[in-house]
Amino acid sequence: MKGRTLGRHVKEGGKNLVRNGWMTFASISAVTIMLFVVGAFLLLIMNINEFADSLEDDVEVRVFIDLTADEENQSELETEIQDIDMVQTVDFVAKEDGLESLITSFGDQGTYLESLREENPLNDVFVVQAQDPQQTQVLAEEIQTLSYVDDVEYGADIVEQLFSVTNIMRYAGIVLIVGLMFTAMFLIANTIKITIIARKREIQIMKLVGATNGFIRWPFFVEGLLLGVLGAIIPISALSYGYVKLVEVVQGTPELSFLTMTPPNPLILQMGGLLLGIGAFIGIWGSMMSVRKFLKV
């Protein structure tokens, strides 16, 4: 193919968008809407993931130190725990502090527990966090075997339930986004296909006048690419802007402080790249697949 012919194909592809005015508009708006939905869900799911992570980060192992252990024994135990690979942080909570927070947690009713201060029934505690929250159980079992450990607690039931919830959330999110992506791909390719079926006769005429398959395909390639890219611009801009604003609002509203949102910075770039990629890919693929059918003349 000569260089000028490539130029001709690019120009022709662009012109076709204009020539098929209504059809082009319909295709681009299908791309726009679908990518918008995919993008919005992508942001939602990334945030749900973040939220799940933050829930999991709250999981900790409470190591009750034997009452017989003196200070030296305690710091020995602390280094032993810290030497375990899976451990991220170890915090010491003296029994006095433990009782204090217990009483506080009872609110008004806590006053009735004041009597306990005289003879504190609690242990000193190490609060240990695993690097990967999902390792918590293994970690707890390992710590159990160390000396000067009276007991180990990590709320087995609740933690397992929490993990099954967060895992369901993650898998559901992945299934959802993949499902939506395929839906989008199908619908966009479908729309493009219909617009090209409508041009079946034109393609056949071109072949009868001596055009090769490649010659006919190229402008459609360019057209599909442009459709996809043009259709991706609005959702990318709108979602990026909207997300940045949303994060601002959520962070500025005290009542919503419990919502931890994924920071926009790398996220909207990734989202933008993904949408642009999907748009371009489906645009090209959809138009190539559809043209193929009519080239046999």
Binding site: T5, R8, L208, V209, T212
Partner: protein, 228 residues
């Protein structure tokens, strides 16, 4: 140039359009194809540039046998054959200029050459002033002349014309016929299906009459025949 041997064509719906045709057309010949409506003229012609494939028999264009040409080389064959389609087959979203230029873009001509040559043929068919019109903005006869321009623009070695004067007034028809004769004089083989008795009888050439998908008559300098 064109040879058909025992060619039969049955359409998928069962219509037997061509029933055993043997014909040889020499290089630089000018041949009229005549016959009643539905006789098989267009089918006969469509077989030559392979819009339709024969059910049986062999067709040769030049030295090439059509059934032996690879699918992807068919466009190369079609570039050597200019076709004026009975239903014009103009690209509806392209202007007159672009429609004619398409036949040259396909062979990757330079832009300057395309421009020169397209304006030249549009001048020949007297449509230079309508170059930027879309097909649906043209009269029937004007559309037919665009189809003629596109068929001759790349100087094909064979020109096939299916009823090229059906929508033209007698005067314009004669102009077109003179153009075809000139092209023929320069060595182009011409096959033209027509119902125009006056033209066939005045400009005497070889006449192949088709009836019911068979060659009913083949006269070197015959007239239209079919006198009522």
């Amino acid at each position: 140039m064109i040879t058909m041997k025992e060619v039969w064509k049955t359409y998928p719906n069962g219509v037997m359009a061509i029933n055993g045709i043997d014909i040889h057309i020499d290089k630089s010949e000018f041949v009229y194809v005549v016959g009643p409506s539905g006789a098989g003229k267009s089918t006969f012609i469509k077989l030559m540039y392979r819009e339709e494939k024969p059910t049986r028999g062999t067709i040769k264009i030049g030295d090439e046998e059509l059934s032996k040409i690879k699918e992807r080389h068919i466009p190369l064959l079609r570039r050597k054959i200019g076709v004026v389609f009975q239903d014009f087959k103009l690209l509806p979203s392209l202007s007159v200029y672009e429609n004619v230029a398409f036949a040259l873009e396909v062979i990757e001509e330079s832009k300057a050459n395309i421009r020169k040559r397209v304006m030249q043929v549009l001048d020949i068919v007297r449509l230079k002033n309508k170059a930027r019109f879309l097909p649906h903005e043209l009269s029937g006869g004007e559309q037919q002349r665009v189809a003629i321009a596109r068929a001759i623009v790349n100087n094909p070695s064979v020109l096939i014309a299916d009823e090229p004067t059906g929508n033209l007034d007698p005067e314009t028809s004669w102009e077109i016929m003179k153009i075809l004769e000139e092209i023929n004089d320069r060595g182009t083989t011409i096959v033209m299906a027509t119902h125009n008795k006056e033209i066939v009888n005045t400009m005497r050439k070889r006449v192949i009459a088709i009836e019911g998908g068979r060659v009913a008559r083949d006269d070197a300098k015959g007239g239209y025949g079919y006198e009522r």
